[in-house]
Symmetry: C2
Subunit: 361 residues, 2 copies
DNA sequence: CTGTTAGCGCATTCAA
DNA sequence: TTGAATGCGCTAACAG
C-alpha cells in the first residue's frame, strides 16, 4: 500500500483553489476514490457504497464522504467503473451518413431512450462504405454494451460474423432472413406500394425510380415493391435509374429522367427527390405539371415550406429510433425478442405529384 | 495465477464454432489477452506488443499471436485499455439540439477529425437546457479525453467550474471574456452586420428580429450587431421579437411580425426563417414582395430547392467543426492555443429578400 | 527481444 | 455496517 502519496487537496482546501492550482501546474494526478476515502477517514468500499447506493451506510459516514467528494471535486473514472462492473454504460450507433437528417432523428430518439436508462451513446458514421462499416461496428462492440446498426451495407457474411460474437446487436432498416439478430425496420415495401398506387391512380404509366446505394436493403425493398406491382398486373412501367442517396445525386440524375420519357419519378429518398426537383425546374420543366416527383422518408422538419411541398412516403422516425433502442435494451437485459419489428409508412400527398401532362389513353 | 480456467476455445477450434456455441450457451467469459497469450505460448506483454506495435517482436512469435487472435476472435477490452493507458480514446461533443442540421454538420466534421486521430466520438444533447447541460458536460469529461461544448447555454460560473477541472475543453460558438478556455466560433456579429447592410441597401427601415434562446451567445451577438448598426447611424429601426430556435417557433411568430409593421424580418436561424416564411405565405402575404425574410446559418443541404430560396448568412460549417476538433486535439496534446478563433460569415442573397413594397422616401 | 511484476481506479467478494 | 483483500483486462516499467 502506498504510504507516501499525498492527496492533491486536503479536506480543508477549497475546490476552486486546488483545481486552479492543478490547472496551471504539471499534469496533476486525478483525484481517485482512495483520496476521497482518506479524506473522509473511511475505506474505499464505503465511498463506493455511498456513491452507488449499493448498501446501507451510517449517515454520519455518508455525510463525510459526500463532503470529501465535494471538497476534492472527485468524479469516478468511467473506464475503471466499466472495467470493474463489466459494462461500459454506453451503446453504439452506426449510421451510413451523419449528414442525412433521417439518421439524426433516429439518433435523437435513441439518445433519449439510452439516457433514460443511464447510458451514453457513441455515434459513428461509415460514409456508406461497407468495409469501414464492419470495422467500425467491431470497434463499437469493444467499447459499448450494445450496438445499433442502422441501414448496414455490409454483406451477409460480415453480419453473421458480428452476430456470433455473443454481443447485443440490433439491426435497423435491414432484415436478413435466417440471421439471429433482432431488427427494427421501416416497411419500405409497403410504403412504395402506396406510392405506386398513388401514381397509377393519377394516371401515370411510365415511372422512373432513382435507385439508391447498391448495398442498401431499403433500396432493394423499394424495387421489390415495384416488381410486385407489375406482378400484380398493375399497369405501370418502372425504369430503374442508378442514382445515389444525396441531393447532389438527384440533381445529376435529372437529365436521365427527362430522357427516359417518363411522366413521374420516384426517388430513393427525399434528398434525392429535392435535388431532382431543383434540376428539373432549372431545366425549365414544371413540377408537378410536367413531371411528378415523389420522395421517401419525409425528411423535412415540421413546418418547413419544403416539407409541405414534396409528396413522399412518411414514417415516424422517432418511433423507429425508440423501438430500436428499446429492442437493444431488452437484448442487453437478456430478453431475446428476435421478432423483426416493422414500422409502417404513410403516403403524404403534397405538391409535387399530379396527373401526367399527357394522360395515358 | 488461475490454473483451472479453460479458454472458451482451443487454438484448434474454429472461430465460427466456438462463437456460435458461446452465443447460445450461458453468458460466456470474454476472451482476454491472457487466453491469447496461453494459446500462442507467449506472455501477455508480447501479445500486447504485437497488437500495438509498441516494440519489435520475433516474426515467428508475432505470427503465432496473430493466429491465436484470429482463432479465438480476440478483441481488446476498451475499458481495460483506457484504464491502463490513462486515456479513453474518445472525445465528447455536447450540442443543444440534435435535430438541428447545423450541429449535424459540425458533428460530422468533428467526427472525421477525431477518427483520423484514432478517437471515437461520444455525442450528447442538452435539449437547450442549461441545467442538464452542465451535468452532461461533467459526464462527458468522465469518459472522454476532451470535450467540445457547442453553443453552451450554461452560465459563466458553470463554465468557470468546468474550466478548472484541468481537463481539455473547447468552446464552440461562445466567447467568454477572461475564461481560460480555447474557443472556435462563428462571427455572427459580422454576419448580421452584412445582413443589416443588405437590408438597408434594399431600402428597408423597419426590421424585426426573431430572437432565439435567451442564453444563446449567438443570439446576443446578432442583437449586438443591430445595436451597433444603430450606433453607427445606420437608418434602421430594429424590433426584437422573442421567438425561439425551431421552425415551429418561427411559424408561430409570424403574426407578431405582421402586426409590428416591419417590411423585413431577420430570423435567429434558418429553421425559424423557414417557419416564418411558411406562416407568412399561409396568411396570404407574399415573400419577398411584401415581406423580406432573412435567415442565418445556411442550414440547407447542397442543391436543395430551399437552399436556393432563403437569403441567409452563411458559413462553412465543416470548417467550424474541423477547427474545433483540431483545437481540442492540440489542447489534449498540451499545446495551449487559447486564441479565440473566428469563422467568417458570408451573405447569401437568394429569393426571400427584396426592396420593401412601400420604399422609404 | 521477452517474461515478470506492478499497478490503472473501481466494485465486490469475504470476514469481522 | 464496515474494512481488507481480490480481480476486472490491459499496458508499461523493469529485469533478464
Amino acid at each position: 500500500m502506498p504510504e507516501k502519496s499525498e492527496p492533491p487537496g486536503t479536506a480543508s482546501a477549497s475546490v476552486v483553489a486546488s483545481a486552479s492550482v492543478a490547472k496551471k501546474g504539471a499534469r496533476q494526478r486525478r483525484v481517485t476514490i482512495t483520496d476521497v476515502g482518506t479524506a473522509a477517514g473511511v475505506s474505499t468500499s464505503t465511498v463506493s457504497r455511498v456513491l452507488n447506493g449499493t448498501a446501507r451506510v451510517d449517515p454520519e459516514l455518508a455525510r463525510r464522504v459526500q463532503d470529501a467528494v465535494a471538497e476534492l471535486g472527485y468524479r469516478p473514472n468511467a473506464a475503471a467503473q466499466g472495467l470493474a462492473r463489466g459494462e461500459a454504460g454506453a451503446i453504439g450507433v452506426l449510421v451510413p451518413d451523419l449528414s442525412n437528417p433521417y439518421f439524426l432523428d433516429v439518433l435523437k430518439s435513441v439518445s433519449a431512450v439510452a439516457r433514460s436508462n443511464g447510458r451514453r451513446v457513441m455515434a459513428m458514421e461509415s460514409d456508406e462504405d461497407a468495409t469501414s462499416e464492419h470495422e467500425l461496428a467491431e470497434d463499437l462492440m469493444r467499447c459499448c454494451d450494445g450496438v445499433l446498426l442502422c441501414s448496414p451495407r455490409m454483406n451477409r457474411a460480415e453480419l453473421v460474423d458480428l452476430s456470433m460474437r455473443g454481443h447485443p446487436v440490433v439491426l435497423v432498416n435491414r432484415i436478413v432472413p435466417g440471421l439471429s439478430l433482432p431488427s427494427v425496420s421501416v416497411d419500405f415495401y409497403g410504403g412504395m406500394t402506396l406510392v405506386c398506387g398513388h401514381l397509377t391512380q393519377l394516371g401515370h404509366r411510365c415511372v422512373a425510380y432513382l435507385s439508391g446505394p447498391e448495398a442498401s436493403w431499403a433500396n432493394a425493398e423499394r424495387i421489390r415493391a415495384f416488381d410486385a406491382a407489375a406482378a400484380f398486373g398493375v399497369d405501370v412501367d418502372v425504369t430503374v435509374i442508378p442514382c445515389g442517396h444525396t441531393a447532389r445525386h438527384g440533381y445529376a440524375a435529372a437529365d436521365a429522367v427527362r430522357d427516359s420519357g417518363v411522366t413521374a419519378v420516384v426517388a430513393y429518398n427525399d434528398l434525392v427527390a429535392l435535388g431532382a426537383v431543383t434540376a428539373l425546374e432549372d431545366s425549365g420543366l414544371r413540377v408537378p405539371e410536367e413531371m411528378s416527383v415523389i420522395g421517401c422518408d419525409d425528411i423535412s422538419l415540421d413546418d418547413l415550406p419544403s416539407s409541405r411541398r414534396l409528396t413522399t412516403a412518411s414514417l415516424a422516425r422517432d418511433e423507429l429510433g425508440r423501438q430500436a433502442a428499446q429492442t437493444l435494451e431488452a437484448l442487453m437485459a437478456a430478453n431475446g425478442d428476435t421478432e423483426p419489428k416493422l414500422i409502417p409508412m404513410e403516403l403524404r400527398v403534397r405538391h409535387t405529384s399530379a396527373p401526367p401532362a399527357v394522360p395515358a389513353h
